[in-house]
């Protein structure tokens, strides 16, 4: 069962579409959400919500890449859950990651400036497109998939130190890029 067939089933409103999507992608969604939330149960809830969203949004949406689509849904749901939990002062699981990314915030940023998250996403994409592939993948694994540094090191067959150094440099370059790109500061 491939993505194309799953989407076809979803368009026919066949429940098997969700079943197969779950078979293919639940594990990876669970893994990512668990990395973000630090809770198996919450992650499972995110996975179920993401699958539900897939059912609700396809059709009309017809994603080119079902994997990216479904993982993005799951990431957004997990992020919203974190936001909600933070608001309730229940937990703040992604604090280490956001702290790391603080370093990317341009120095000249002033009170009241806010950049549209979609525009910022595009600028970050442009930046990532322009850096070496290995660095790019490390960065995306860390800040999109919320992978542990140890997991990234294992994936690349290198030391954790090397991953940390690489991430540090990419964050520094991103900060510079954001300033140069004229992110409203």
């Amino acid at each position: 069962m491939n993505d194309y067939e799953i989407i076809r089933l979803l368009f026919e409103r066949d429940n098997d579409g969700i079943k197969y999507a779950s078979e293919l992608y639940s594990g990876r969604m669970q893994r990512m959400a668990e990395n973000m939330l630090g809770s198996k149960e919450d992650a499972k809830e995110c996975v179920n919500d993401a699958l539900m969203r897939v059912w609700e949004t396809i059709p009309p949406n017809q994603p080119d890449n079902l994997y990216a689509y479904i993982m993005t849904l799951c990431r957004n749901i997990a992020y919203n859950m974190i936001d909600w939990k933070n608001a309730k002062k229940r937990s703040a699981e992604i604090v280490p990651l956001t702290n790391e990314l603080e370093m990317c915030v341009p120095d000249k940023l002033t009170q009241g400036d806010m950049v549209d998250e979609y525009a910022l996403g595009e600028i970050i994409s442009e930046f990532l497109e322009g850096i070496p592939k290995e660095k790019r993948i490390m960065f995306v694994r860390r800040y999109w998939y919320s992978d542990d540094v140890a997991d990234i090191a294992k994936r690349f067959g290198c030391s954790k130190g090397r991953v940390n150094v690489t991430l540090h440099r990419v964050r520094k370059d991103l900060k510079k890029y954001l300033e140069e790109a004229g992110v409203k500061v």
Partner: protein
């Protein structure tokens, strides 16, 4: 309203180009082991050049000392007992008794009709203790040994070819209720997906090799396939290459899959 913060950038990461997301998931990453072997080859080349120079100097000295006449009793070097197929390893990591737990990045080599298991830095003790790398520990899973019946380790002399036995970690093939789904369909889908993502026609060891407890299934890759294989080794991925065992064998992969006509060595009882 305050300015953007780290969390805004983290959130905006969710809007990056989906192509980058897919790339980070599916791109092959060159394994350290391959780089190591390349480095080893480089080093060997350097060593060979140095040896050649030293040898040349020695020969010149002998020739000068003997006035240009070769000594009649020059000893003939003993042939090396190491066969060409042996892998040069750091003996520190050779263990006589394989109390094998599981999994990561070990390999096997044969010498004098015996099998040695070599683990590498950062090997993991068991599939369940992902966060506890333990270097130099011998690791070899019973699951892996059982994957091909009793024929997991095959070491005929004069091996002609090399393949890798791979252990694929399946991250909970779940049904909608969150239970492990062990139906043939679920596994077939998983096999299909791994093959599709890796763009390789992996020879799977067959359904019986799927282990419900460890969530692993087994297949065989050629060296070339191995270089192309996505090196997903992390905890919790839907699949990940968590074990790589180099097998020396004679014959083709199909035969290896069924373990026919090979001498079998019990790793656990081998002496160094």
């Amino acid at each position: 309203m305050s300015g953007i913060k780290g969390k805004d950038i983290y959130k905006a990461m969710g809007n990056i180009n989906k192509r980058l997301v897919v790339e980070a998931e599916e791109t092959n990453v060159k394994k350290k082991s391959i780089r190591l072997s390349e480095r080893l080859l480089d080093n060997l080349a350097c060593v060979a050049i140095v040896c050649l120079l030293v040898l040349t100097v020695c020969i010149v000295q002998v020739v000068i000392r003997n006035g240009g006449n070769r000594h009649k009793d020059t000893p003939v070097n003993e042939p090396s007992s190491t066969s060409q197929n042996d892998i040069i390893v750091d003996e520190t990591y050779i263990y006589e008794d394989a109390t094998v737990v599981s999994t990561e990045c070990e390999y096997v080599y044969s010498k004098d009709n015996k099998v040695y298991i070599v683990s590498k830095e950062g090997s993991y003790v068991s599939a369940d203790s992902w966060d506890a790398p333990k270097s130099g520990e011998i690791v070899f899973s019973d699951d892996l040994l059982n994957a091909f019946g009793n024929n997991a380790i095959i070491t005929p002399e004069n091996s002609k070819d090399v393949a890798y036995l791979v252990e694929i970690h399946v991250y909970d093939v779940l049904d909608n209720a969150g239970n492990k789904q062990l139906t043939d369909d679920g596994l077939e889908a998983e096999y299909e997906r791994v093959n599709r993502m890796s763009k390789l026609d992996i020879k799977w060891a067959g359904k019986p090799s799927y282990n419900i407890e460890s969530n692993c299934m087994y297949g065989v890759l050629t060296v070339e396939q191995m270089r192309e294989y996505p090196t997903e080794a992390g905890r919790g991925y839907v699949f990940g290459l968590i074990s790589k065992t180099e097998l020396k064998y004679e014959g083709n992969i199909d035969e290896l899959l069924y373990g026919k006509d090979y001498s079998v060595v019990n790793v656990n009882s081998q002496d160094k």
